[in-house]
Symmetry: C2
Subunit: 480 residues, 2 copies
């Protein structure tokens, strides 16, 4: 009962904060405007002073308003102040041998150095993960598993976990059964199994440009060619352009990140996903869909997936819990449509099964509703971090930088003045213990020289602010 009341009260202050946020974004309230006092707000909405205060506190946390001492609350920021979105750099699809860039190794060698101000890795903020509750689920797994989890799990994955994954897929309109799922060691194993099941050495694979360097490395590992399809930082790739590229370069499979793409942050509109699936179904070309950021939406509803529109099983949906729950548990999965049987046997041959205890623990965590609860708060916290990072960047970076506008995930794609070489910026920043991911990592040909990726996974604090300020100074300096 107390919980119910608390939740109702929660909703009230959030509703009011949202209403004010909307007024700020719509410029009904402008930057510098004074807001009604807490007392006036409480009278206006018929709420307690406490609730009114909570609403303002919420908006202040997002950096949208500020309190000035003895003077009240003022609007501080709105989305209209955001810089432009980065442009599409390469305009034509290109096919190329992948040169496994040494810079990846170079950039990620020092990545576990804890003293680093690390903007280069896309890991979730550890402090926001539900460690204590996950620990309880591990204890449950130890107690409840047959032989305490010492024996092999079924090669397709723990059945209860697969049932929970079915439930989770309701969020994107998935119509799947537990037997359609194969549990993997994170999303990377899922992607590599899917590639192995659909193409052979030397084949050409369409990917977005820019795309996550891990995908280029994976293609290189498997001896595959990349055909890079330019992706718009808002809407992703163009389906007509893809069709032409498929014919021109004899593309044998596509590997895309349609939701909150890494690094550009684009989210393909659902209608476009549908067109994409129609295209690949017509051409009978497998589409490997990496949906690793799909659950991390800032908006109210989760974006659909390509799998949602897949009628004939040509979409191989891959994801994991590494970006939202527990990277160290190494739990991912794929839903490979018509390639399911093939991937089942590949999984069995290559790694036999995923670790038993980790699977049972996650199944338990999901089954008692803890994942859903965690994600609700986690998404809000990420959105807040997004706003704080962007505000700080606007404050400290030169005015001509362009910043992506992700609607989920925790990655920003930043375009600099063409004179600035981001690998040079990387080296300069490292002198101050600051790590960024230079743009060249995100293309097989070392394009995107004046871009870089900045992850806002770490909780925003004074150190982060310092890091962004120093980066801003270095950017200004490199222009001279």
């Amino acid at each position: 009962m107390t919980k119910l009341l608390a939740s109702a009260r929660n909703h009230k202050y959030l509703r009011i904060a949202e209403a004010i946020e909307a007024m700020i974004q719509d410029e009904v309230l402008n930057i510098g405007d004074r807001l009604p006092s807490v007392r006036v707000l409480s009278d206006e909405y018929g709420i307690s002073m406490g609730t009114a205060f909570q609403a303002y506190y919420q908006l202040e946390g997002k950096g949208l308003i500020e309190s000035r001492s003895k003077s009240g609350y003022y609007v501080r920021f709105n989305n209209k102040r955001l810089p432009s979105v980065p442009g599409i750099s390469s305009l034509k699809p290109v096919s190329s041998e992948i040169s496994m860039a040494d810079i990846v190794t170079q950039v990620y060698k020092n990545v576990s150095d804890l003293d680093l101000i690390n903007f280069s890795v896309a890991t979730p903020p550890m402090d926001l993960l539900p460690a204590a509750k996950l620990n309880k689920s591990v204890l449950h797994a130890i107690r409840s598993s047959k032989y305490h989890g010492l024996n092999y799990e079924h090669y397709q994955g723990n059945l209860e976990l697969r049932k929970q994954i079915v439930k989770l897929s309701f969020n994107w309109g998935g119509k799947i059964k537990p037997d359609d799922i194969i549990v993997t060691a994170g999303c990377m194993e899922a992607l590599s199994l899917c590639l192995r099941a659909t193409v052979k050495t030397g084949d050409a694979i369409a990917v977005e440009s820019p795309t996550y360097f891990g995908i280029f490395q994976l293609l290189a590992c498997l001896g595959l060619q990349a055909v890079e399809i330019p992706a718009d930082p808002v809407n992703g790739i163009d389906v007509l352009q893809l069709e032409k590229a498929i014919r021109q370069f004899s593309v044998k499979a596509c590997l895309f990140v349609p939701n909150f793409n890494n690094p550009v942050g684009s989210c393909m509109p659902d209608e476009k996903k549908k067109q994409l699936v129609e295209l690949i179904t017509r051409l009978k070309i497998p589409l490997i869909e990496d949906d690793i950021y799909g659950e991390l939406h800032f908006g109210k509803s989760r974006p659909k997936t390509c799998k949602t529109f897949d009628k004939e099983g040509w979409v191989l949906h891959c994801t994991s819990l590494s970006k939202s729950l527990a990277p160290g548990y190494r739990i991912g999965w794929c839903i490979p449509g018509r390639f399911t049987e093939k991937i089942k046997s590949l999984k069995m041959v290559l790694t036999i099964a995923a670790p038993t205890l980790m699977q049972v623990a996650v199944a338990h965590f999901l089954s008692i509703g803890r994942y859903e609860y965690h994600m609700k708060n986690f998404r809000k916290a990420l959105y807040k971090q997004y706003l704080r990072y962007v505000q700080s960047i606007i404050e400290h970076f030169p005015e001509d930088v362009r910043i992506s506008r992700p609607q989920g995930g925790y990655i920003l794609w930043i375009e600099l003045d063409k004179r600035i070489h981001s690998l040079k910026l990387y080296h300069e920043a490292m002198k101050y213990g600051i790590s960024i991911a230079p743009g060249q990592l995100f293309s097989s040909k070392g394009s995107y020289e004046h871009y870089f990726r900045l992850s806002f996974g770490k909780q925003f604090d004074d150190t982060i602010e310092y890091g962004i300020r120093v980066l801003g100074q270095l950017i200004r300096k490199s222009r001279l």
Copy 2:
């Protein structure tokens, strides 16, 4: 202090049991001979009646002696009664395309059916694994890991675990450092990384014949050819024959199981291992060594590995804890010599890292000496099971069957009358809920039709005895 005393007492009864066992094996005592009474034994050795009784109890457990009511103890079995060892079936090396046998899927489809009398899987006896103590190590891992194990581990593997693996390698004369090791998801991932780092699609790989079907499946997965080198059930492959085959078939790498080979149970003598390593070093051909059963020796000392003799880094040593400790934890590793850097980056790209908690738990379990303690008892228990299974087989199978004589592991390789087709036997046995692994699984060409593999991993009991009796009856029947 109590522990020390107990251990001293332990040693006494074991020493006496061993002395009597030696007399039985050397035929100083013959089958049917009456043994001295417990009282006489205690007088003779100056031990308590209790210790004398314990010694007999130990020998009875191994099936070497039996007590007849009101009459005393009698010798029941000696090793001289063992049937002959299976022959080498194929005499010449052969290279062939691997046909991913449907029978593997067929045989292993029902493998997790708990009602099955399962002689077909090579998993350790769950009841003999130290579940309670491993659980404690998992708890320790949850408490002691940074972020409770939620974050990624280093891609090369947890450092403390790698230090413990270094210590473990002292047992086979390993001279390695933590940085020479990459932690993997069991031995299968280690093997697949090693193949990927050393050869390319279409290459020919030398394997023993017969060899574990999982290795054939792995080669098929990676598009590799198998060159099968006949292996003697006692000493393994012939090095001269291998050299010829390497030249004849342009072999690009070897993948062998030198210790307690699966399925023949051979253990390559150390001198031969040395010759093998000299050969592959001279020819600059990588040798992938699967040492998954190496720790499960029945004799006093652990056999050496090929890695022991590797001076120039051409041996890629692979193993795991799946056969001795916890298959469900999925902890394996490789020590890939000159291919270490390549395998480090492959591991990072393909699965990023092994699960954090499982690694920390195992590192803890090893570091406090629990693994060593467990293995001491586990090896004894396996040897006892070996004796009991073999005795039961001798009792129930026709006299002309031939049985391998493994000095470790838990696998028997059984040769039947040439008229008996073991796949037919498999189907007959399945009608009685008994599963065996037909010989054809262990060759890429479906040879070994009148062989089968029988795992003695499950604790010997009435059900196992029943299973062996029924198998014996079916073998007799199929000859008619």
